[in-house]
């Protein structure tokens, strides 16, 4: 009987109840940071180039383009929208229009129009997924194919070159040694984090992903929230594509290929649940940093590309398995 009484008490103040879970929870939070440190440590020991300012700036720059997409993709996963596969098309849309329109309307309006049109793609995705109820994978795959087709037809399937070198200079400029493109990425990540973790829209996003019916029955505009995640991702991909185009000063229709999987990998490795309802921008960013550093180390060490793909594949499988295991234990 004393046993039972003691049990009731510890359950009440929560101390004992949390202890077991706290360890697992801590592991799920700090595990990734430890992994990042391990990669940095290994990279520094194994390769003289790794731990240099030059290399870090390179990593940061290449991270920025995919990182902006990651911010949007986090919303898609958290809302329970699985993935946005139209990202390569929206990136291409951003990159090609941003360069192609420069000669006619100037670099800044060109950038704005490119991003806006990418956003329209997201709006169609959002309506298809949120309001019509089409499976997100199918809807975004279809939309991506259509948009890519339109973009290709518009530029005649050739490479588009920039007309205004000063715009490239702006993107490549540095503030205190940090590339402008990285600053834009970090600003977008901070805004994304604010929206997801602090605003009512972010809370609605998490609630809709956590339990769609319950959110709906709590007067959350679930359809709009679901659609919104795809609009956000399309805008992010449009910006990302525009910056990519400006950096390269050339763009082909397949310029965005592979970014969707890089973004999904980062988000999933960061521990954002593929089933929705759980995740944050900082987590996704940690996943991004880890994946990018790991890739960088592998490249520097001369690991062959197929093996790199193999390692990243294992990472995704491992992260998803962990997500499911944590969910079963009620931590995530």
């Amino acid at each position: 009987m004393t046993d039972v009484a003691a049990m009731g008490q510890t359950t009440k103040d929560g101390a004992r109840f949390n202890q077991g879970n706290r360890l697992v929870g801590l592991l799920s939070r700090a595990g990734l940071l430890l992994a990042i440190l391990a990669v940095i440590l290994y990279g520094s020991i194994s390769n003289p180039v790794f731990f240099t300012a030059g290399n870090f700036v390179n990593v940061l720059t290449s991270m920025s383009i995919v990182g902006i997409v990651v911010v949007g993709m986090t919303f898609v996963l958290v809302v329970g929208g699985m993935a946005d596969l139209s990202v390569p098309a929206t990136i291409a849309c951003g990159a090609i229009l941003c360069l192609a329109l420069q000669a006619y309307i100037g670099p800044v309006p060109a950038f704005a129009v490119a991003v806006l049109l990418a956003g329209v793609t997201g709006l169609v995705n959002g309506v298809l997924v949120g309001y019509v109820g089409i499976n997100p994978i199918i809807a975004t795959l279809g939309m991506g194919t259509i948009v890519l087709g339109i973009v290709q037809a518009a530029v005649g399937g050739v490479i588009v070159y920039g007309a205004d070198p000063s715009s490239a200079d702006f993107v490549k400029s540095r503030i205190f040694g940090v590339p402008m493109i990285a600053i834009i990425f970090i600003a977008i990540a901070i805004i994304g984090n604010f929206v997801l973790s602090r605003t009512f829209w972010g809370r609605w996003t998490i609630a809709t992903g956590g339990n769609y019916s319950a959110a709906e029955a709590s007067a959350v505009p679930v359809r709009a929230v679901r659609a919104g995640a795809f609009v956000i991702t399309a805008f992010a991909a449009g910006i990302s594509g525009g910056l990519l185009g400006l950096t390269l000063q050339s763009a082909r229709p397949l310029v965005g290929q592979g970014y969707e999987f890089s973004a999904i990998t980062a988000v999933v490795v960061g521990g954002v649940s593929i089933m929705g309802g759980f995740g944050s921008i900082p987590r996704a960013m940690a996943g991004l940093v880890f994946v990018q550093l790991l890739t960088n180390v592998m490249v520097l060490q001369g690991v062959r590309t197929p093996i790199q793909g193999f390692v990243l594949g294992l990472l995704i499988a491992g992260a998803v398995a962990l997500d499911i295991a944590l969910r079963k234990r009620g931590v995530a």
Binding site: T10, K12, G210
Partner: protein, 505 residues
């Protein structure tokens, strides 16, 4: 006496989860040919005990004897081999298969190595007939009513030739009429020598069907007694550790003007021509058999499903409701029937769950939710309704059913609604929490709110409501005033065994 043979003996069963002791030293002895009820509040350890019995969990300490032999069960298949079958509260059936295919799922009869369809149908028909049901084994399961599906689930367990059958809240979706039919089946199975373990919150039913009753509280076994030697009041006292005097208290309130008026609404499919009014300070009961259309009516009024005909008025003015958000603006709130499915967002905290419908109001002009205001709001309700643990930052999925329900009700009170629709607000919650929820409803109407309460439980409907509307096959009866309420009258209206004249209130 053959019934003296021991079917199951669990000794000194303890189960420790990381950080919690769910069971400590539980003893359970069940004999063949008896119905053994297990009662206890939510969180008392019934589910854990049954999961151990079904092989889903391994006990931390203790031994299990089935039919006098020590057994060790590592997985559910082990328990099934030993002849232990579970009938879960949530049905484990495939809607697109036929009744017969469901009954023999995973163990289809074979002849010469090939699937024997004829043999399966014959055996399914035999089992169903033996249980005294008239369900056609060739019918698609999804076309059956929920209560018929429940019987198929039981038939599935029975067809496996079990020694022990465990039923977890089998009557929670059944009307009283269907419950009586279920009990006839259970008695048949008992008389065939099967040991039946019966878990239920409904004490009246326990007294009716059980031979023995075991009470669990806080993970410990409190007492096992012959059902003939115990009363419902005693069971409640053992379950909660205190006397609960009046199970259904009715606080008198002043009934005011009409708030919600529903006129001839229909959805073109599951209900038609439904009309009723609810006045300030009044609790209107909406009852009937499962599948009569009660939940569909509530969901349509709340904008979760479209209406094809009829009008809804709030305070005498017609309103158009196409979404829950519009319903909330009109002053209508709805607490859904399926708490886990439609009520809570389990991974969110109690605070976040409570603030959900009013989140926009809590945000500043940048959309940022004002944490301090939100925390105060949640804390107000946590204290007001004594939600346990009294911590708004706890994930709601970790709370007991009753406390989750209090949080879901709080969520809607924060919108300051004129009408509150509660769909089976006390289903699956324990006795103590039930009384608390009734207390909360009583307070609300005392403050002038209009309440519509859907319930299948007649004592609850009769104890709490001022007027009652009975639904049958998508049609609503005229309201019956409290004075004219009898169980017989409600059942007659619900089952249609009454002539039409009786419906005038």
């Amino acid at each position: 006496m053959p019934s003296a043979a021991s079917a199951l003996h669990m000794r000194g069963i303890s189960k420790v989860f990381p950080g919690v002791k769910a069971l400590s030293g539980v003893e359970l002895a069940v004999r063949f040919g008896t119905v053994h009820a297990i009662v206890g509040e939510n969180g008392a350890g019934k589910s854990t005990l049954m999961k151990i019995l079904s092989g889903a969990y391994a006990p931390t300490t203790g031994t299990i004897e089935v039919a006098g032999t020590d057994v060790r069960m590592k997985r559910p298949a082990d328990a099934q081999r030993l002849g232990i079958r579970m009938v879960h509260q949530e049905l484990n059936l495939v809607p697109d298969l036929t009744v017969a295919e469901n009954i023999f799922l995973g163990r289809m009869p074979k002849r010469l190595g090939f699937f024997d369809r004829g043999g399966m149908l014959r055996r399914a028909a035999a089992v169903l007939a033996e249980l005294g049901t008239s369900i056609d084994p060739q019918e698609r399961l999804g076309d059956l009513t929920i209560s018929q599906q429940q019987l198929v689930e039981i038939a599935k367990a029975y067809a496996a030739d079990p020694r022990i059958i465990v039923l977890d809240e089998p009557t929670s979706s059944l009307s009283e009429h269907e419950t009586a039919a279920l009990f006839r089946i259970l008695r048949k199975m008992r008389d065939a020598g099967i040991a039946i373990i019966y878990i239920s919150h409904r004490l009246k039913e326990v007294l009716e069907i059980a031979d023995e009753v075991t009470v669990l509280r806080d993970g410990a076994m409190i007492e096992t007694r012959a059902a003939s030697g115990i009363t419902a009041a005693e069971m409640i006292r053992l379950m909660v550790g205190r006397e609960v005097s009046n199970v259904f208290p009715k606080t008198p309130s002043v009934i005011g003007k009409q708030v919600l008026s529903v006129r001839g609404i229909g959805d073109g499919a599951r209900f038609a021509d439904v009309s009723f009014d609810v006045r300030a300070g009044e609790i209107l009961g909406l009852t009937g058999l499962v599948g009569a259309g009660r939940t569909e009516v509530a969901r349509a009024i709340f904008g979760l499903a479209p209406l094809t005909t009829g009008t809804i008025e709030i305070d005498g003015a017609p309103v158009t409701i196409r979404s829950p958000a519009a319903a909330a603006r009109a002053g209508i709130a709805y607490v859904p029937e399926d708490r886990k499915g439609d009520g809570i967002v389990p991974a969110m905290t109690v605070r976040e769950n409570i603030s959900l419908p009013v989140l926009r109001r809590l945000a500043n002009r940048f959309g940022r939710v004002r944490r301090g205001v939100e925390r105060d709001l949640a804390q107000t309700y946590v204290q007001k309704f004594s939600i346990v643990p009294p911590d708004g930052e706890r994930r709601i999925g970790l709370l007991s059913g009753g406390n989750q329900q209090k949080a879901v009700i709080s969520r809607w009170l924060a919108t300051d609604p004129k009408v509150l629709i509660l769909d089976e607000p006390t289903r699956g919650v324990d006795v103590g929490a039930k009384a608390e929820i009734h207390g909360i409803i009583g307070q609300l109407v005392a403050n002038g709110m209009a309440v519509v309460m859907i319930s299948s439980e007649l004592p609850e409907i009769m104890g709490v409501c001022d007027r009652v509307v009975v639904m049958r096959d998508g049609r609503a009866s005229a309201p019956i005033a409290r004075e004219g309420l009898t169980e017989e009258r409600i059942m007659a209206l619900a089952t249609g065994e009454d002539s039409a004249e009786g419906e005038a209130a």
